[in-house]
């Protein structure tokens, strides 16, 4: 995989994630007790043998840069290649604000030119997956395709009026492509992960941007399929995946991985997920605590009751506090006598003594970062 590089685009729209993405990109969203979404994508690439990873940043990218640092945790801090952080910038031909992935790639043409690898895996940053990238690339090469799209048939990934859906023949060739249909007519969901030759990507990006086009799916891939000017194939990802595009789907992912088989589907022993280490001591469980069906990170101190919840590093649950169906991010606190249910507490949020906070299951309450209630 020496001749494959990865590019992760992190500029997706995030309106439906409300407060959660007020200060961060979707890619930097904390998930599963100690990770950020981007950890899954970078780890997938690194586990597949990729040594050159570019991360295109757009808005609110401070926390993302802070998290990725030098790329050390992913072994991407070597002399040859490594992690490349690509923030937006202003020049004569670049306005700094990307309407879409095409414009972002156009602005980073220099990175594309300078990289040595012949093949690129281009990934979005809002779908959580853990794929064997080496197998994807092998399939791409063996099939002689110009473009290979990663897809899933997971029903949970289908959504009205959103997403790209593929019609595929027996030879894995993409015959048709629907973008944001009212009701999808195909059940193959494109995961916004593609394999393509570096030169071809540059060519397509150049041409599209020169014609004022912004959508990769609609303006580039769909045209290639319709015109038959390129061989577009599809490769099925059979593992677990989640599309994080709303507070509900964010909540669902975290609750889903309380299930053993789902958790083990994404945290595979042979494909570890790496993240920034915080050097906290192991979690402490007090004398009278009661914890069931929950994921807990290091540095937590639990003295109260915790049910069906996901606790991040350094969370404190005081005696007689009760936490049910909640996600509590880093350094959150729930004080004595408080009761919270169906809540998402962003970093350092504090629920004071005897407070009660119950959200509807279908629409969990989000408590923003640093808020004290």
């Amino acid at each position: 995989m020496k001749d494959v590089m990865g590019i992760i685009y992190t500029g997706e729209g995030d309106a439906q994630l409300r407060e959660l993405t007020m200060y961060r990109a979707i890619a930097a969203l904390p998930v599963a007790s100690r990770y950020r979404i981007i950890d899954f994508l970078v780890s997938s690439m690194v586990n597949g043998g990729i040594k050159n990873v570019g991360v295109i940043m757009q808005k609110n990218y401070h926390s993302l840069m802070d998290h990725l640092g030098s790329g050390k945790e992913w072994d991407l801090h070597g002399k040859i290649d490594g992690l490349h952080i690509l923030p937006p910038f202003l020049t004569r031909e670049n306005v700094g604000l990307y309407p879409g992935v095409l414009d972002a790639l156009r602005s980073n043409t220099n990175y594309l030119i300078r990289s040595k690898q012949e093949t690129i895996i281009l990934s979005n940053s809002k779908i959580i997956y853990n794929a064997k990238m080496d197998e994807l690339v092998r399939f791409h090469r063996d099939s002689g395709a110009d473009l290979t799209l990663l897809y899933t048939t997971d029903e949970n990934m289908m959504k009205d009026e959103s997403g790209t859906y593929l019609s595929i023949d027996d030879n894995h060739t993409v015959k048709d492509l629907e973008v944001d249909p009212t009701h999808p007519s195909y059940s193959n969901v494109y995961m916004q992960v593609m394999v393509i030759r570096r030169e071809l990507l540059r060519e397509l990006v150049d041409k599209a941007v020169a014609h004022g086009l912004h959508s990769m799916d609609r303006d580039v891939i769909q045209r290639l399929v319709q015109d038959g000017t390129a061989k577009v194939n599809a490769y099925e990802y059979k593992g677990m995946c989640w599309n994080i595009d709303s507070v509900q789907s964010y909540f669902k992912f975290n609750m889903d991985i309380l299930d053993n088989s789902k958790r083990k589907g994404i945290f595979r022993e042979d494909m570890p997920v790496y993240t920034k280490v915080r050097d906290e001591m192991p979690a402490y469980y007090g004398n009278n605590c009661s914890v069931v069906n929950s994921l807990v990170a290091d540095g937590c101190q639990i003295e109260g009751v915790v049910e069906n919840s996901v606790l991040f590093r350094g969370v404190k649950i005081s005696p007689n506090a009760h936490v049910k169906n909640c996600i509590i991010m880093q350094d959150g606190q729930v004080h004595e006598g408080a009761y919270i249910e169906n809540c998402i507490l962003d970093k350092q949020a504090v629920i004071k003594r005897n407070a009660r906070l119950i959200g509807p299951q279908a629409y969990p309450i989000v408590i923003a970062k640093d808020v004290v209630i």
Partner: protein, 394 residues
Amino acid sequence: MLRKKTCVAMLLAGGQGSRLGILTQNVAKPAVPYGGKYRIIDFPLSNCTNSGIDTVGVLTQYQPLELNAYIGSGAPWDLDISNGGVFVLPPYQKVKSSEWYRGTANAIYQNMAFIEQYNPDYVLILSGDHIYKMDYNAMLNFHVRHGADATIAVRPVPWEEASRFGIMNTDSEDRIVEFEEKPKNPKSNKASMGVYIFTWEKLRHYLTEDENDKKSSNDFGKNIIPNMLNDKQVLVAYNFNGYWKDVGTIESLWEANMDLLQNPMPIDMHDKKWRIFARNPGMAPHYIAKGATVSDSLITEGCEVYGNVNHSILFAGVIVEEGASVESAVVMPGSFIRRGAVVRRCIIAENAVIGPGAIVGEEEGKIAVIGHGVTLPAGVSVPAGDQVDENYTF
């Protein structure tokens, strides 16, 4: 030419730690796991980093494989830097001789060239045997302020136990007037911690002199310190009052682990200004299942608990099956407690499997130990104080 360093640390990590029995059969004592996610050596290494000492030589000799792998590039402790960092220093072959490290002083003597590279003013001597948080920089300032040739860290021990330690008798200005190894009638209760700071020029002189003395046992406590005292060099005692625990025996290792469950913790591990760093296994967060009960315990990443855990410490990747019960136990990385097994007052080393219904340890008495990678058959029981390796007969 390397840039000059004010202080270089030398960590003596070559000892076997034979009193830890089967726990150190295949690993050196400093590599023994502690506290749910650490190894003993994390404490002196993190203390160095937190004290601003960024050049550390680790002297290894006994079973160094695991220790070498653990230290690696030194990245977990921020010791992977270009000017300084952590260096593993095993004994090596020389033109005229090749020999093992004969004693603590000889080990340093054999690595004088390493120290000279940095042309330091001071050398800090550490061991990998204790659990403690200490600011070596404060001790170095004390050394400089007193214009000392050597500073020895001491801590107060109960008078009735003083005769088990190396005791420093000091005057009112903290100057050491006499050193007594295990005195019958102690005149002071200040016990040496085995942490020394020497002015490098002086130490170099005494190491060379000691090496030429064929009768010497080449030991800091037995030879170097007494020789310096005889010569009326300035030796001062630096008082340390924090938590300090020797983990040289099975019982004391178990106790030191249990200390972390006290409320408040006698050693503050949550202090963000003095973190203890460790190499991270990179596993998923731990999971407590429905029906599990957990209390008064420390649990870390990769664990899965379906049974009962009380007053215990679980290291990374430990699985406790349904109906299993873990009580006052230290369970090291990757071990598996099967259905219905009962483990109590014991230490279970890495990657052991406790078969269904097996019983380890007793409610009272000495600590039982299950060795590295041992698989305990279903239904057997291991009495208090027994150590189980592959050759154990039930």
